[in-house]
Amino acid sequence: MKKKKELVISLVLIAVLIGILRLMEINISPQSKWAMLMTVLKKGSIYALVAVSMNLLNGFTGLFSLGQAGFMMIGAYTYAIFTIPADQREMVYMYYNGGIVKFAIPAICGVLLAGVFAAFFAFLIGIPVLRLKSDYLAIATLGFAEIMRALFQWDTLGPLTNGSNMLRSYPTPASASVIYPFVVSGVCIAVIVLMINSTYGRAFKAIRDDEIAAEAMGINLAHHKRIAFTVSSFFAGISGALLAMFQTNVQAKSFNSAMTYEILLIVVIGGIGSVTGSVISSFLFIACSEWLLRFLDEQHVIGEFTVPLMRSGFRKVVFSIIIMVIVLFFRQGIMGTREFSISGILNKISGRSRKAQKGEPK
């Protein structure tokens, strides 16, 4: 009964959210100063997905992996390679005689395929690297991401990946409408949450808390680590496809270790082990870095007085100082390991109103 009520409320809230997004989309023109908000919402929702997928590994399974950007890259490339319309290929692959892929699949199939490819690579990479512990795992996954990046820029693979040239001209629904990335990311995050709450999710958390005890409880470490790693990469791949749409072009060199660090910072700011934390922090992170602090990059003159320091690049300095402050003084992040849930809020509201009815002092 209670579950049903929650479900109904969630569905209503989702419908309202989509409605609001649609209204914003119609009313905010690209010239208005609110246009940046739409960009933030699009990119934020994409980063939310990859942050949650990283949290599944680092926060819920205790696997310290730094390969997320690499799997995003695989997803982005997969999507781009298979969805560029056949008649555009001659132009995109101009240095490689139109490339070797001569067909195009629908965008949504491309998104799925992006996840599948990323998961497949993760499965292969997982065989050697998942035997490694903590820091060694981190540096090995980072290393694999770098190797992948070199591979994708390799001239010999040019007919497939277009070498170090950009891939473009593929369909970009996630750039056209804010609803698209929201829905895709939302569905994916919902699946991850369901998994975390299943018996497999409990096994992941057991591994995180104590590998030796988990093994003694009959949990096959290698098998479960592989599942977590593959699933996480699947969703990283999908977010890569979304990012490819958002950017409208893909180039391997942008998927570097700095990108992985950025995602890791988002996870940490949101709270390691909190899905809602990762989501909230993604939007905040993107909003701060792309939009809210933008005024810091411009020179301001008040009367005769020129505000010192403010010029191009200052925004990023301030932003990194904010991050350092969070890392040093708010170690738990925004949410810690807590989750933000409708039932929690309902309980709070109903609890409060009940108290009010009884006339209890606050």
Binding site: V191, L194, M195, S198, T199, Y200, R202, A203, K205, A206, R208, D209, D210, I212, A213, A214, E215, A216, M217, G218, I219, N220, L221, A222, I227, V231, G273, T337
Partner: protein, 280 residues
């Protein structure tokens, strides 16, 4: 004649040049409570780790219910380094991971309690139910295994009820008092439905009253859950009261074996514990 549940055969464990367990041979029979005692560093926990697959022995084999579950022989660098006995008697390698051993029906607790720290007592128990799942990743994720999930939960609750842990069901496992934590760890091991339970110093850090309660508790779960129990313990009151048989280890070697009365009067045991003071 009761059937043999656990048989450790010629097991030697050598770390580098140090022999931690030296040619151990022991047998635990169905329904017995067998204790292993010995001074610190005698190799007791190492023996447990070999039995439960944490690491393979350097040489020797382990049988469970008549079936060989672990076997190893010196390999690689160990070929030259090996100082133990029975070299060359074993030629196969059988080194299952701990989870496989648990699935066979051997559960254990740890000397330094290893509960899942971010989880409640109930969740700690529930994790042990995972090994009997029939659902796959897909059906579990999309909650298509409702019946199984409900059964897991009801089994975990039932176990908590039997072991009188209902009152702490939703507390964080590591916030409980020490004695309770031990009990939760035993409950968690029982949730894997073992036929053989290995307890590594279950009474460590307990006061006399808690130890008495534990003694009764161990006897009770043996009967209620139809268990065979093999434990490491230092509290002699507990060991002498509850054990059917006792093995004594010193410097990796088994120096005595027998029923409690025999052990109490064995001069070698007294020497090992008192460091030869008797002779002087």
């Amino acid at each position: 004649m009761r059937e043999t549940v656990l048989k450790v055969e010629n097991v030697t464990m050598q770390f580098g040049g140090v022999i931690a367990v030296d040619n151990m041979n022991l047998v635990v029979k169905k329904g017995e409570i067998v204790s292993m005692i010995g001074p610190n560093g005698a190799g007791k926990t190492t023996a447990f780790n070999v039995i439960t697959g944490v690491y393979p022995p350097t040489n020797g084999a382990v049988y469970f219910n008549g079936e060989k579950i672990v076997e190893n022989h010196p390999q690689g660098k160990m070929k030259k380094l090996y100082k133990g006995e029975n070299n060359g008697q074993y030629s196969h390698v059988l080194a299952p991971t701990p989870d496989r051993i648990t699935k066979l029906g051997i559960a254990r607790t740890f000397q330094n309690i290893r509960l899942f720290k971010s989880q409640t007592v109930f969740e700690n128990i529930l994790i042990a139910e995972h090994l009997r799942r029939t659902s796959n990743l897909f059906s579990a994720t999309f909650h298509l295994n409702g019946a199984e999930e409900a059964q897991m939960r009801s089994e975990a609750d039932e176990l908590l009820h039997i072991l009188e842990l209902d009152d702490v069901r939703d507390e964080m496992a590591t916030s409980l008092p020490y004695g309770k934590q031990r009990r939760v760890e035993v409950a968690r091991a029982l949730a894997t439905k073992p036929s053989l339970l290995l307890l590594d110093e279950p009474a460590a850090g307990m006061n006399p009253q808690e130890t008495d309660e534990l003694t009764a508790f161990i006897g009770r779960i043996r009967d209620d859950f139809n268990l065979t129990i093999f434990m490491i313990e230092h509290h002699m009151d507990l060991v002498m009261e509850i054990s059917d048989r006792i093995y004594v280890l010193d410097f990796g070697k088994t120096i005595a074996e027998g029923i409690p009365e025999e052990i109490q009067n064995n001069p070698r045991v007294i020497e090992a514990y008192l460091g030869g003071a008797v002779d002087e």
